[in-house]
Symmetry: C2
Subunit: 728 residues, 2 copies
Amino acid sequence: MDTGESVKKGSFTLPGEAGYEALTLELAERWGADAIRDSDGTVLSDEIVAAGFNIYSTICLVRIDNAWARANPDKLQQNFLMSYPVIAEGDAASIDLLSGYFREQFRVNVGDDPKAWWQVFDRTTGEEVPADLWELDAERGVVTVRDTQRWHKYTVNFLAYRIWEAISMYNHITNGWGDREHLMPIDPIYPETQAFILNYLEKWLQDHPRTGIVRFTSMFYNFAWFWGDSPELRYVYSDWGAYDNTVSPYALREFSKARGYSLTSEDFVNGGLYCSSHNVPSQRYRDWMDFMNAFVVAFGRKCIDLVHAAGKEAYMFYDDHWVGTEPYGERFKDFTFDGLIKCVFNAFEARLCAGAQGVKTRELRLHPYLFPTGLKGEPTFKEGGDPTLDCRRFWVNIRRSLLRAPVDRIGLGGYLHLVQDFPDFVDYVEQLGQEFKTLRGIRRGGRPYTAPFKVAVLTAWGKLRSWICNGHMIHGLELNELIESLAGLPVDVEFVSFDDVLEKGIPDDVKVLVNCGRAHSAWSGGRHWQDGEIVSRVTEWVAQGGGLIGIAEPSACELGGQYFQLAHLLGVDRETGRTLSKDKPLYKKASAHFITQDVTGEIDFGKDVDGIFVTGSATHVLADRDGSPRVSAHNFGTGRGVYLSGYKFAPQNTRLLHRALYWAASAESDFGPWTCSNIHTECAHYPGSNKLVVINNSEKKQETLVLNSNGNPIEVSLDPLGIQIIDL
Amino acid sequence: MDTGESVKKGSFTLPGEAGYEALTLELAERWGADAIRDSDGTVLSDEIVAAGFNIYSTICLVRIDNAWARANPDKLQQNFLMSYPVIAEGDAASIDLLSGYFREQFRVNVGDDPKAWWQVFDRTTGEEVPADLWELDAERGVVTVRDTQRWHKYTVNFLAYRIWEAISMYNHITNGWGDREHLMPIDPIYPETQAFILNYLEKWLQDHPRTGIVRFTSMFYNFAWFWGDSPELRYVYSDWGAYDNTVSPYALREFSKARGYSLTSEDFVNGGLYCSSHNVPSQRYRDWMDFMNAFVVAFGRKCIDLVHAAGKEAYMFYDDHWVGTEPYGERFKDFTFDGLIKCVFNAFEARLCAGAQGVKTRELRLHPYLFPTGLKGEPTFKEGGDPTLDCRRFWVNIRRSLLRAPVDRIGLGGYLHLVQDFPDFVDYVEQLGQEFKTLRGIRRGGRPYTAPFKVAVLTAWGKLRSWICNGHMIHGLELNELIESLAGLPVDVEFVSFDDVLEKGIPDDVKVLVNCGRAHSAWSGGRHWQDGEIVSRVTEWVAQGGGLIGIAEPSACELGGQYFQLAHLLGVDRETGRTLSKDKPLYKKASAHFITQDVTGEIDFGKDVDGIFVTGSATHVLADRDGSPRVSAHNFGTGRGVYLSGYKFAPQNTRLLHRALYWAASAESDFGPWTCSNIHTECAHYPGSNKLVVINNSEKKQETLVLNSNGNPIEVSLDPLGIQIIDL
């Protein structure tokens, strides 16, 4: 750190641990903590609680009292499962419902009438089997289907209670908690559960007089995470944004009453695809999300009111049981949460937290978590792990975004005692904390220089899934890679849905629209591109000067002879086998172009979409491989279209994207000021304080030039992963 | 040539050329010709005709008399074209119908009521525009659409006469025929045209007393070949098997009367996809094909009756105007053709000719054609060309198939005088002719050793498109690459359709079923896989001992959570983005397997389908890349499934396929006899004559071992591209 304010204490949340009081207090001092928290599996001792720090106490309302859960087995949370397919070899098929699933996680709900809630399907034809042709043996958890068609596949959509709450199950198994009791998630949809929870919370608040902040982990429904019984397939289905875990006959009945129509098991099971966030959501599913969001906010508000009445603050952990809370939804502000905490590895996650409205404090929980192993089972705080290197790499990812969008606090979680064997980790966190506070201070002095136009990312989800695809970074998912680049670029970004475009058009301040993803995904848009109104709205907007960037399979769907429905704007389309009998126009590669000006060597997008062809000679191909364009530029009316055949977060691609945004916006002449010459470095200029922050995203020393607003260069040298803060 | 009978003369068709009489007769002698033909652009002089050879005369009935064509412009052949899309920028759109098309090929048919036959579509929504909202300006060939939706794309399906017959247009342009008259194709659907053609033919037969064989080039309707006006897009649409060129209001009316329902322009245009053979045909299109096939055979028979009545033989060229003849259809025998001639580059094309029923003589027209340039414009008989090398390579491709399936004759076409500058070509053709006659002689002695089971290839086309995909080799098209391998393997192969499976099941003698192609193609099957009856039939058959080989995207379609509808048989499925939230079972690679026993180094399938995952631990992965299986084996019931992620014709892959067929058939113990140890060599054992033919497919010398029926090895040395014929 070369300059900037030195703020020793504050804005840092430390995980304390009973039995390690001295360590807790020592590290609180070194890391400048102003708050101490407990974690799942740790408690704080009186000595820690009394040490004068603000105390965060975590609470997960749906697993607070296992005795109550045991006594109310019909109030446990449920979900629809689809049994593994069974192929009928005769005129009947016997289906063991939980076969293939982790039987410690699920128990078949035989109490609510299966004939009313379950469905059996012939998956070979896709047709439902009439309810009178199947019977449940409740004892054995087996459904027998009669009059089957030989060699057809049959499945049962059935309701299962979750008898082990997924996050504590994961923590239990990861940390080897042995015979510690399995916590069960209770469902707050029932008035009885609500009464119990509110009572419990009220008492808990009384019992935690020193707690200043109640950290909800999170509200009520965990993201979907169905486990399997095979070591070869531990996780059958996991989706960070899906509402699979929110169903119950009670809620489904309430939905029918409220919305005037009923949902079926298949609305959630979708032939085994479940409610995956990657797929284009049906209107019925969106209705359900809205219904459950209303419930979660309404009941959540009652809980938060108790917290506030007790004179404490309420923070929400933006993970785990966050389903139904929707921080980017309209109702989120109605919770009246005071703070939001997001665990982050990447810049886009930091932006996710920074961009949420309706809270006054935003906190990042950094990684690595103080656990022996990481999320994928890799060693962290144990033999073979290098938590300091992990932490440096995560931090350098995240730091880019903090130049653009501020958060208020950082913190760690887990078992503090694990850091004892890693003194360099302790040193690094101290340094990182300083860096965070310095950047936050500068950022609070005003917005940095930002492009004179806004970018909108168009997906089926729109604003609701701003700055996120589906949980942590999915490497290779083009949109996830893209938003990681965008998170650190000097452009304002918003996320719009197809419904937004239909209802409100493309916002006036938006100059570049991005559509990025594989065909039929929620990210590309799938069936929405069959809506001529969408296509013509975007066409008009580009014709009148808008810029479109299409990545991978933008606007792809099978309608007529086209595949990319916006091929006329992008100037390219894709051969998927449907048009093999049609020749493709020849093209010549452009010798140079604004967009690819900083590219050296071969562009690496990870995995490219192949079979791309130009629609005519008006398309400028800037990069190609095996006759398939990889980067192209095209004019339409007074607007522009850019196509990229894939995307991977990498310095060269981030720069290429940066330039593509300016070209698409017809704003090339604005490009340059406050941009680094060296693509491994990035910078932000804060006109308010007239400071320039330059960061090195690489693990090598870097030299870079930054052009100021007058075009004069500023030379900067940076240590590996280093930062320079320059007063201009 | 090391042994075998020497047959100097016979079975060779030479293209003669007036003005080069001495050359013609000299080469007829050297190449052992017994027949001399003319070609498009050449004539035979009296001297040649009188020289004692059988005379083949070519005739193309639809371009015989341009004066008649000019006098009957409403009897020219027609097709539906889709205009290039026009985007409406206001409330009307003006569409220049022929814009983008080669105006020397097409003339808009303004004579038949456009409102009755044409259709205008909003391609942005896919909806048809009511006929009262558009008008044709016949003079300008422009359609104006009223009340358009702004920024929507509009196209017109319209009828166009073809005013330049495609093959003579190609020959004219390729050979620079300058201002030679453009021949126009007349349509035999009209009684007047039929009368004219029959009259003309009768007279022509009288005028060609020395002609022994009338070679029809071919019957009436050429494969679809729509040209563009841009040098960047010369061929807009070409499809060797498509019936686009067979339509006319007259025929469409006849169809309605015969079939009781009417077809529309969109049945042929398909949003601009036209009738591509690569796409799954609709039942309506199949009905049309059947209707036109009945007409072509019925009227063709009248022509052939005249030929026979004149004491001559009738041969058909299995190319160009072959559409509607369907040599693999039920009616082909009704033509009473005497011979069938196929121009060939590859083994699969030779099998296509050899397998056609209903003729007594089958002839291959070899390449290169005696033209200055080849089909793709590359030099052949001119500076920079190496026609001898081309010829050797084509021959070695074709030769493999001749070991399995015999043909009767070979020949050449084009301008004979071009060979004068290429004496090594003259020498090579002499040698090739000898080789052909030797092999034919051996093959006539009886069938070679063949696998004790049959293989069926399942496509949407079935038998009708046996041994062909869509014209000459399409490199990279998995099924085309596959049938090229199959064409030389010692297995009997048949081609079955989904309808065949539904009507008749899988034939009793078939032990291996192959499904090979990309999703939604006619080759993989597309929507047919949504038919539960197909899936369950194949499932039952495999459960009871059948073998399934799936290649690329076998049985792929979106139905439920599966993508490969036969994933339960193959043991693999594909991630296309729909199941990203579902984890995939881990797998271990098998250390060795019968199928991959002869593989050395990395398998090269050209382009692989990626994102493949195993369905469980019962799937044995034999080869993979980046976590995606490339070759796998799986048991189901008493049958077996094999998956290959792609296919390219290459020696190692041919061997891998050979072994996969035996493994799928549970016939590993039968594998070995009459198989070469060296994958660059192949052999055939003829039990009837007890001869062993061993061929070297490579351009290097090769040593190989052949195991006889007792397992004893026979050592064979082969020259580059060489052959050995061994008496056992």
